[in-house]
Structure formats: C-alpha cells, structure tokens
Amino acid sequence: MTRLNPVLIGLSAVMLGVAPWIINAAPYESTMGLVQKIFYFHFPAAILFLIAALICGVASAMFLFGKKASADGWAIAAAELGLVFGTLTLVTGPLWARKAWGVWWVWDPRLTSSLLLWMIFSAYLLLRRYGGPGSDKLAAGMALFGMANVPFIYVSVNVWRTLHPQTSVVPTLPTDMGIPLWFCFAAFTMLFVALLNLRARLEHQRSRVEALYLAEDEA
C-alpha cells in the first residue's frame, strides 16, 4: 500500500489538473448558471467529509471496545482528513450560496449539522493535542458522536424544508453533468485514500518513536 500512495497522489493531481477543462465543458444549470459548477468540487469534498467521520467513528469503536491500539492511529488520521475535507465543504458551500441564495449562510439543518461535525473534529484534534493522559479514550467517545451525526446530515435535506439541494439531484444528473462529477469524485477519493494511509503511517511511526524513547528510559 505504501508504494501505491505516490501513484494515487500523482494520478489525482493529474485528474484535478484536467478537471477544470472537463467541468468547463459541462452544461450550465438552468437557474444557477456558472456558479453551480462549484458543485463538482463541493460534492466530493462533502461526501469524503462524511466518510472520514464514519472511518473515525469505526476506528474509535475498535480502539475503545476492541482494545486495538493500532485503530487509534486510523482514527486520528480520519479526524484530520475530516477537518480538511470539512473545511473545503464549508468554504465552497457559502461561496456557492452567496450567488445562488443571496446569503453566505443560513442556519438550516444541513448547514448547521455539517458545522457541528466540523466542530466535533476540531474538538477531537484539540483534545488529542492538548488533553494529556487519557485524552485518547475521551476523544474516541467524541468520535462516536461525530459518526452518529452522519446519517442526520445526509437525510436532513430530504426531511426538513431547506434551501440546500436534495440528495435526489445526484442520481438524476444528466450524463454530461454526471461525467465531470464522478471524474472529480474519483480524483478526490484517490487523494483521500493516499492521504489517509500516509497520515495513519505518520501516527504509527510516532507510536514507534515513543516506544523507543520509553525503552531507552527504562534501560
């Protein structure tokens, strides 16, 4: 998997470099026009934001209940990626909204719950950085709450009245809008997988360094 990471990063960089031309060739949306093209980067970032929360939650559950120490490294990696992809979602969304809705932000269920998830990731990482001994278990518990928020975020646009487009827009996309979307989604996913691997590797190497220092102190 380590050898695959540079390939995935290189491929996604090429694809993200080509993406503007493919997106430019896609037709304009009838009511929103040009600004709707933010969707081709916003949607992959948002989905990977939710996937990161699921990975972080599952790894944290394995760490808490299964006592698997290595799962904690994957949880930290997913939390950091969640923060990065969440930031991309929460910045590209308002840029789109300002033009399409006339406001940067509305406190509707989709936007508010997404912001809440981003804040859970921030709190998780702050706790890991400054929480001291025992913060790993406390943070893992917090990650479970983050994971529980994911289905709520996903269905919120279908359950409550909101300005945000519903989940049905993706399966009903015409082919000439679907191709750029899934092309960008593939690029983002490859980058996400490579970054998750590298970040988890960083955490596992850090654990080895700590173990070696402890061994030195004991000797």
Partner: protein
C-alpha cells in the same frame, strides 16, 4: 440639589427626544418601486469570482496538506532511524 434635578429631567427627556433626532437623519420612506431592466453594477455578484475562489481554495488547501504530511512523515522517520541506530 438644583443640578441633580436638572440632570434627572435631562435623563427623562433624552429618550423622548431620541426618536425625533433619529427620524431627522433618516431618508424619507419609499413611496413607489421603479423597475429597471438590469441590476446595478455594484450589486452584481460575479459568479466567476466565486467559482475561481472555490477551486483555488481547494487546490491550495490540498497541496498544503500533502506538503504538511510529507514534511511531518520525513521528520518522524528520520527520528525513528536515528533512534534505531542508537539502539543497535
């Protein structure tokens, strides 16, 4: 005593006079809407700026994050190698 009474009187009267002062500064209320065919230039939001800003932001953040992970990983692996050498 006289001064404190005057101050009290001013404090009571000041809020009463405030709305009149505010109204004096406000423009007159709009009595009709006039249609125009185009939005005034200052009110238009350029979509290209928003799209360019969004794509630029994504690129900068992703490149920055890749660079950050690579730098941190290099540092930790160098430390690990040094520790392993020291232990041998």
């Amino acid at each position: 005593m006289r001064f404190s009474r005057l101050l009290l009187l001013l404090l009571v009267l000041a809020p009463a006079g405030w709305p009149a002062a505010v109204h004096a500064r406000q423009p007159p209320p709009q009595s009709e809407f006039l249609p125009v065919s185009d939005i005034p230039e200052g009110e238009q939001i350029p979509a290209f700026t928003m799209v360019g800003g969004a794509y630029g932001f994504v690129w900068v953040v992703l490149l920055g994050y890749v660079w950050s992970i690579a730098r941190r990983l290099q540092k930790v692996e160098a430390e690990l190698t040094a520790l392993e050498r020291r232990g041998q």
